[in-house]
Symmetry: C2
Subunit: 250 residues, 2 copies
């Protein structure tokens, strides 16, 4: 499986992806799921993927080789939503071609983020059906893959005013919580930071054995455990007693 | 949906269940999913349920009315595992009878915990297929329903040596995180605390509008957000840069 998340903040965009892939539990490998396309000075795209790795790779190849050609491509779209529909169309086309042998296992889901021309930077969730949604105004993040484990924390912490440095730490703590709870998500973790109107992505990998990741993980876990001690105890006045379903004494 | 969790600790057992039920998103109600049976001075059972509410209610009725009869019941089992198999058999029998009209939607999953005779107290996950597992030695908790949202926190915090008061706070923080991320889980929350060898359950409800729950929730959220500020920043030395998939400049 996979866990990818993206945030749309006032300062820019933040992307984080794990790299673990598995075909069954005994065929585990590491593949990049955060891809960067800069097919012009006025445009920057980040594509994160979950689902079929084969479909994803075919989509990536078709995106890449279309860039030099005469037809539609990420180099020709005028708006980010056109790029989302373009990626969605490629995804459904590739998945449909393999449906006879793979059924729904050939589908892939994407997060596409970036900026085109002078339009605002944004992030979009591109469904296997080829349509898309933008991130919500209230909770400006998107997730694909194993999204549930880290969602409560994002619901609590992500808001448009968060700065990109803080956002990176929020994303990493959501990621390490997910990896703790689900073996199908794991390091290295790929991070992309996009400052608004820069048309350049700062993107880099944080390795699983990096001292930084240990330090972050230890601090996060210590703080979480320390928080329990600060929680108020349940007192008798806080609760109402209900009768048992069956009691020999009653 | 539902979220129930149970822990097996050195001091005893802890149970927590939400009460939200939904048949579609426009038929939301409140039902108890934590049930208490004490059919003798030497035995105490707690049954938590997820899945079909109708199947659960039929199982509960059959458990209750069997207690007064001559056949097998929770009053006659000699071991906790026999109680798990008894509940599992009732669950599969009821679900199978409704399969023609409901398919797999008639199934229910249970956590059964308690103590019988002088044997150790334990918790068991009873599958819709009628079989069961005990909680693991390393991570002595079980979850049913919407288990993913609150799992990372339990993986981190639950260990057999935790005292029951602390365990209640861990369970509540897992519950409020889940409810924050998923509308199908919600208060009031039912809490059961079983002290080893007591054969009595302290069980009570924490209402959604209780000042205690607000206090707990506020403290938990503040502590989580404060933890971010203590996390180390990503520095250039912590990361390795990878090349973009396509760069007009390259």
């Amino acid at each position: 499986m996979t866990y990818c998340l993206a945030m749309r903040l006032d300062e820019g965009l933040l992307f984080m992806s794990d790299t673990r892939t598995n075909a069954g539990v005994d065929n585990i490998s590491t593949f990049r799921k955060l891809h960067v396309f800069r097919p012009g000075d006025d445009r920057l795209f980040v594509l994160q993927s979950a689902g079929s790795l084969a479909t994803t790779h075919e989509v990536l190849d078709r995106i890449t080789y279309a860039l030099g050609g005469p037809g539609d491509s990420l180099a020709t779209v005028d708006h980010l939503y056109e790029a989302a529909l373009y990626v969605g169309a490629l995804g459904t086309e590739v998945a449909n071609r393999h449906r006879a042998t793979l059924g729904d296992n050939a589908t892939a889901t994407f997060v596409l983020g970036g900026q085109v021309g002078g339009e605002p930077a944004d992030i979009m969730l591109v469904y296997p059906e080829g349509n898309y949604i933008r991130a919500s105004d209230d909770r400006p993040f998107l997730q694909i893959g194993e999204a549930k484990y880290g969602k409560a924390w994002l619901d609590l912490a992500v808001h448009a005013g968060a700065d990109l440095r803080t956002a990176a730490k929020i994303a990493l703590s959501s990621m390490i919580s997910t990896a703790l709870a689900n073996l199908s998500v794991g390091p290295p973790y790929d991070l992309g930071i996009y400052e608004r109107d820069s048309y350049q992505l700062q993107h880099a990998r944080i390795d699983g054995d990096s001292p930084y990741l240990s330090r972050l993980s230890d601090t996060w876990n210590e703080q979480m455990l320390a928080a329990v001690d600060l929680l108020p105890d349940v007192e008798p006045g806080d609760i109402t007693v209900f009768p048992p379903d069956h009691d020999v004494a009653g």
